[in-house]
Symmetry: C2
Subunit: 410 residues, 2 copies
């Protein structure tokens, strides 16, 4: 054989999660990673609702379950219950059989299959190539999926004003207003930074006028307010208004099952016939990508959502987690107040859920990494769950020092 590789020209791919690598390699005992992907307990362990652990055990002991291939579109009891959870059991779209889910390999799998589907079939009858709008903090990670799927024009929208440290719905509406007719807009619900109902309504009105297509992402329903219905309000409002839409749903955070990749791609369209045709195309895409989804996680979710007793217990666990998150937000704000850290820290409690804009400038983030062994991701959103009673004082003190050390820049 020749000695030259046919892969001579393959370059090293740039890794996205570099703060995680630095964190892992840092031997400092007080190091903190403020960018964990999931929910953690106060002891720094992966949070998992007790009911999920019990159901996992039950499934492994169930002699009636075999390990036969699932259908391409997955476990129906799962996709049905998951879709009901998101858009509501009484949704007219469900009653009219024009909404349904497709079981995917995690939320990313739902995004991928959805983006690929839109690239092939979305036909706004105005453009050959559609524009996709993605919120700035997610532009790198999610934009990449749409780009690989074939979209050429991917643009950011801004919803968060980093100077005022508040949401800026006016700028968002302006972007939508100026968007090419028929563009796809990627929306997050629950929206941790907290668009109010009135603001969502204005977004929907503009999107309707400009015939923009909503692609929702719902990966922490219940984790923003503690209430599953409330956190799905925006999505349900769009469905109720008659929008056709896609929604990528993930249960990783809500069930503490990150390694089982339980996702669902919800399709809401105009009528049952269109839904059947769309599902047939999604099935075909899935058959060439991963053929069938894996079952364990979806079985757990289906069992919990379809049993009133287990559902009740799971909701309680969610609420307790949300209370812990709110408490951390309060405590961090209070610590910074006591330390006399310059600036307003109201935004810490004005936002909700596990993801949060911390409101630091790049130089302050750099200070935290260099001098305090505190690691943040580039988009400057932190995971509130990464703060525990053990590291709260250290984190607050470090933020205080970072702000003071860089105050001369103002």
């Amino acid at each position: 054989m020749g000695t030259l590789s046919v892969f001579l020209d393959v370059p090293l791919a740039k890794r996205a999660d570099i703060p995680l690598d630095f964190y892992r390699e840092d031997p400092h005992p007080q190091k903190v990673l403020l960018g964990h992907a999931g929910c953690q307990t106060d002891a720094g362990e992966v949070w998992i609702p007790p009911v999920v652990q019990r159901v996992l055990l039950q499934i492994s002991q169930d002699p009636t379950l075999n390990h036969e291939y699932l259908p391409e579109l997955g476990i129906y009891e799962y996709t049905r219950a998951a879709t009901e959870l998101a858009i509501g059991k009484d949704s007219r779209a469900l009653l009219e059989n024009r909404a349904g889910g497709v079981h995917t390999v995690g939320g990313t799998g739902a995004l991928w299959i959805g983006a690929e589907f839109l690239c092939r079939w979305y036909n706004p009858r105005f453009l050959n190539l559609s524009t996709v709008y993605i919120a700035k903090p997610q532009l790198d990670s999610l934009g990449c999926i749409f780009q690989v799927a074939g979209f050429k024009d991917i643009r950011p929208y801004h919803c968060w004003n980093p100077v005022k440290l508040t949401i800026d719905v006016e700028e968002f509406l302006q972007t939508l207003q100026n968007a090419p007719v028929g563009s796809i807009v990627f929306l997050h619900a629950p929206e941790e930074i907290g668009l109010k109902a009135q603001e969502w309504k204005a977004v929907a009105t503009t999107m309707e006028k400009k015939q923009l297509f909503p692609f929702f992402n719902i990966e922490s329903q219940g984790l923003a307010s503690g209430n599953l219905d409330k956190d799905a309000w925006a999505l349900r409002y769009f469905v109720g208004k008659g929008f056709e839409l896609l929604c990528a749903q993930s249960f990783s955070k809500m069930f503490g099952l990150y390694d089982e990749m339980v996702g669902n791609l919800i399709v809401v369209t105009k009528n049952n016939q269109t839904l059947i045709r769309i599902h047939s195309q999604l099935g075909r895409q899935i058959s060439t990508t991963w053929e069938n989804p894996s079952s364990l996680g979806a079985r757990v979710v289906a069992m919990v959502l379809n049993s009133p007793a287990l559902l009740y217990e799971w909701k309680l666990s969610l609420r307790m987690l949300v209370e812990r998150i709110m408490l951390i937000r309060e405590k961090l704000k209070e610590k910074l107040r006591i330390l006399g850290t310059p600036g307003s820290w109201e935004h810490l409690t004005a936002q909700s859920g596990i993801c949060s804009f911390i409101g630091l400038r790049p130089s302050q983030v750099e200070f935290l990494v260099k001098h305090k062994h505190i690691y943040l991701f580039e988009n400057k959103q932190i995971n509130i769950c990464s703060i525990s009673s053990k590291n709260l004082d250290y984190v607050a003190q470090s933020i205080h020092e970072a702000v003071l050390a860089t105050s001369s820049e103002d």
Copy 2:
């Protein structure tokens, strides 16, 4: 909202597995599906090695396991053990750190990621667009994956002579000889129709001469001969010859875990640096497709392969299954001999493994479906496991009638 769907033009996708649908809808009590995807017991249940069931239970009760995200490339203990199983623990490629696996969502996931990688990065330095050769029976199902990945020129090769009912290595070699330099050839190992070592060597020689790139598929190692090493001989021979190659590996059949989608994409290249760069690109592709693989199935495989006691027990189970398969082949041939069915049925025992060319003409297959409620897939390969002591007589008698009823066509 307007009432017209933006998905008005989405057509209904053609389903590939139509025999399965017909089988499901057929109320006939003696109906038989000869095209199951996996291994079955004589009682018609999904075959699962007892050790796998025990390990599943053990994992669910292990308090030290959490459900944190896996790394993009998956569980290292799994990919390492899986790769060793395929190319051999003592493989020079492994010792030189130029071979390694990437944990994928099933064998299909490995094919998809591999095909997409080759489409982007395979550079035979002769052509802009490579040709892909796929064995005729798999052309429809696998060709589709390469097509979606971006390959334009996908051609079949024939290895089985449907008239002589034997393998036809000469035709295969001729195809390779005439292939454009640098083409990709998709190979199956263990190759159920039974290429002999000498024939594989001739294939390798021709492929080396024409600089053809081997993409192996190994989804039933151990299920052809009952011996794991013997069934990986061809793959190991290619690796030993210094070929760069990809190999999609699936554990669904071998572990009876169809619903957990445990796959591995093995990369063998020239040196460690190239392997690292290829893995980085594969990681990037995975991050936009399913982000992380799911863990349960890979944990089971890793535990079994890495424990000498469990490995021994699993090998015994495999051997017992293979003995059952061989016995069915013998019995079916014997029944047809006793019935005096015209033609030679030697090919039933000349082949091995669960997949088998049955050697029937289209009109005979049609007769079985129409008059006997026996369903086969279009590629005319049957799953020997679908025949049990309960339906053996009926299947043999039906084949006999089908051959007699259509004998006037000769």
